[in-house]
């Protein structure tokens, strides 16, 4: 336990620069891949590694790569998804800022494996500062012969560019991202066809998350089996967890998948426990979209076993008594947190970010926001609580892209696990109206 793949060298001074990165074993995987491996061998190693999409959906990366339409004679594209906008998530920005060359190295190996000659890194527009960092790193890679024509004297050529977005959560959805890269509104496309067949400019395209691609160099260097030996069961490798909220040490941590949630929250080298020695009330472990769960559920499964930081363990019990690892955006709430206010806040976020194509999402997110505002501000009634459940249920699964589900799950789970908080808001509107910003909320002492 405790092995690192991505951030091992992140503290070395000036590791951002090509020379320092190269001196610490950087770009070795590119030499190995281009000179000693066939593209299909790399895909095979990535499949063996068990690497899963680190953006949140956790789809097996190697399998995704095999979907790429290889019969088409159109150009193929690799697009790196650096649109990181899921509330609670700030790991990709950290990785790109600290180790831009690690991403570029992984993208060169991936492009070689996929037969791609043009790759784009899409970053969210708010990360303007990363545009300079990445462009500088790309320039260095060109100068040193790792990008451009005939890389390392082989037949393989690759161009790489950074493309900034302009403020839209929805562009993290891969087809919306492609629309945005084509200079359009970020409206998700209907799937199928999937991007692997009809992607950027209608050409076969692979879209992978920053962290996913950054792992490829390690897999090329040490093999899929070595990667799979890290982690636990089907949750292979490591995961960047961005921890925030009411904890002593917020920040980005690379953990080996399989450690216990309790250790992650309370150990000094990770979150370091709850701020001000308060009690833990709830956790959203994978970005705002995944179900919020109370202390007893995040620490233990329904069968009483310790909950682990793996895809499987966090999901155990389904939505009744489980949640998801998602993007690794780990948000911690202390005993004073107002779950109703937080749910209203997230609903406002999803309403704001809905692209408006699908009625259930466009209208439903707005209704949920309004109803939650009403309850949070002391104007709700008991029927509102069930109405929210009903709306969430009708959005889920009825939209083109997963934003609808992402908007529904936080509401449904908050009511499932914290219904008493909602009831309190309806029963004691006068108390609620006097609490500024929903802080300090001790309903258990009111009766």
């Amino acid at each position: 336990m405790g092995r690192k793949i991505l951030l091992e060298n992140s503290d070395i001074p000036n590791i951002k620069s090509f020379d320092v990165f190269r001196a610490h074993g950087g770009y070795v995987s590119v030499e190995k891949a281009l000179k000693t491996m066939a593209p299909d061998e790399i895909i095979e190693e990535v499949k063996k590694s068990g690497l899963r999409g680190r953006g949140g959906a956790a789809f097996p990366t190697g399998l995704k790569w095999t979907f790429l339409d290889r019969k088409s004679n159109k150009p193929r594209y690799l697009v790196c998804n650096g649109d990181e906008s899921e509330p609670g998530t700030f790991k990709d920005r950290y990785l790109m800022e600290k180790l831009p060359h690690l991403l570029i190295e992984g993208m060169i190996c991936s492009s070689f494996a996929l037969g791609v000659n043009t790759a784009y890194i899409y970053i969210r527009g708010e990360f303007k500062y990363l545009l300079g960092i990445l462009n500088q790193a790309i320039n260095e890679a060109y100068k040193n012969g790792f990008l451009g024509k005939n890389i390392l004297g082989t037949n393989f050529s690759l161009d790489m560019y950074v493309h900034p977005g302009a403020g839209a959560y929805i562009c993290g959805e891969e087809t919306a991202l492609l629309e945005s890269l084509e200079g359009k509104r970020g409206n998700p496309r209907i799937k199928p066809p999937f991007p692997a067949v009809v992607g950027l400019y209608d050409c076969p395209t692979v879209v992978n998350n920053v962290e996913t691609l950054a792992n490829v160099g390690y897999i090329v260097n040490f093999g899929g089996d070595a990667y799979a030996s890290i982690g636990l069961g089907k949750s292979t490798g490591t995961k960047l967890i961005s921890a925030c909220g009411k904890i002593n040490n917020p920040g980005v941590y690379e953990i080996e998948l399989g450690m216990s949630v309790e250790d992650f929250i309370y150990k000094e080298e990770f979150c370091g426990g709850i701020k001000d020695n308060l009690e833990l009330k709830a956790v959203v472990p994978g970005g705002s979209s995944v179900p919020i769960v109370p202390k007893k559920i995040i620490l233990f499964t329904a069968s009483g076993e310790k909950r682990l930081m793996t895809y499987e363990s966090l999901a155990e019990g389904g939505f009744e008594s489980g949640t998801m690892l998602g993007s690794g955006g780990f948000i911690v709430y202390d005993q004073n947190a107002c779950i109703v206010r937080n749910t209203w806040n997230f609903s406002r976020f999803y309403h704001h970010e809905s692209c408006g194509q699908c009625s259930p999402c466009r209208e439903g997110t707005g209704w949920m926001e309004k109803i939650l505002w009403r309850i949070e501000h002391g104007f709700g009634n008991m029927k509102d609580i069930d109405l929210l459940v009903s709306i969430a249920d009708k959005i889920e699964g009825n939209t083109i892209c997963p934003l609808g589900d992402a908007a529904a799950w936080p509401v449904a789970s908050a009511i499932r696990h914290f219904r008493e908080d909602f009831i309190f808001h309806v029963q004691y509107p006068e108390i609620i109206k006097n609490i500024k910003h929903g802080a300090l909320y001790k309903y258990e002492n009111q009766d």
């Binding site: 043009t118 545009l131 493309h163 900034p164 403020g167 961005s242």
Partner: protein, 193 residues
């Protein structure tokens, strides 16, 4: 919603001739070359960032029509994009645009108090600009810096772990900067070196 916004854009049309500087134009052509031939529309998002920054601080119809000409696309293709993304402003803004994150993780760490403090300090509400034209205050959704909450951006530069005292210093520095006419960060065009 978009229809209203597009009407708003059309009403601002003044037919004032507009052009990037020679240096910026070189960058613009370099950016267009990042995309395959015939796919120059892909450069729209980066070009709108540059235009907003260098041609008046917001996107009016004249600026957008100029970008449409540059990319050989229809004006409406620019308008529909400008009205979709939250970083493009359709109305004049102050020299410094303060964007305060109000989403979940920031909110539970005092983001709402930061917004209150700024409103009181600058005597403006969300979306308004100070009388001296120096500051515009906006609330925005998640800026992807949750571990450093509460957070705001000023002209896309991050300011983290905010407290009232820290805000006082930041605003004071900006007032000094404003008289020196110094930029906070390098420009969008300069990011493409």
């Amino acid at each position: 919603m978009s229809g209203q916004k597009i009407n708003h854009i059309l009403h601002q049309k003044q037919n004032i001739p507009i052009c990037f500087s020679e240096t910026t134009l070189q960058k613009v052509h370099k950016i267009i070359a990042h995309y395959p031939e015939g796919k120059q529309k892909s450069a729209l998002l980066p070009l709108l960032h540059i235009a907003q920054e260098e041609l008046g601080g917001y996107l009016n119809a004249d600026v957008m029509d100029y970008i449409a000409d540059l990319l050989k696309i229809q004006s409406i293709e620019v308008y529909e994009v400008a009205t979709f993304y939250s970083q493009y402003y359709l109305d004049p803004v102050g020299k410094y645009v303060i964007e305060v994150c109000r989403t979940g993780p920031c909110a539970i760490c005092g983001g709402e108090d930061i917004q209150d403090y700024l409103e009181e300090k600058l005597q403006i509400k969300d979306g308004e600009t100070t009388a001296d034209g120096l500051f515009t205050l906006k609330t925005v959704e998640c800026l992807g810096a949750c571990g450093y909450a509460p957070v705001m951006q000023i002209n896309t530069e991050f300011y983290e772990h905010l407290t009232p005292a820290k805000i006082d210093t930041i605003l004071e520095d900006l007032r000094l900067n404003a008289t020196n006419d110094k930029h906070l960060d390098t420009t969008w065009a300069e990011k493409y070196s």
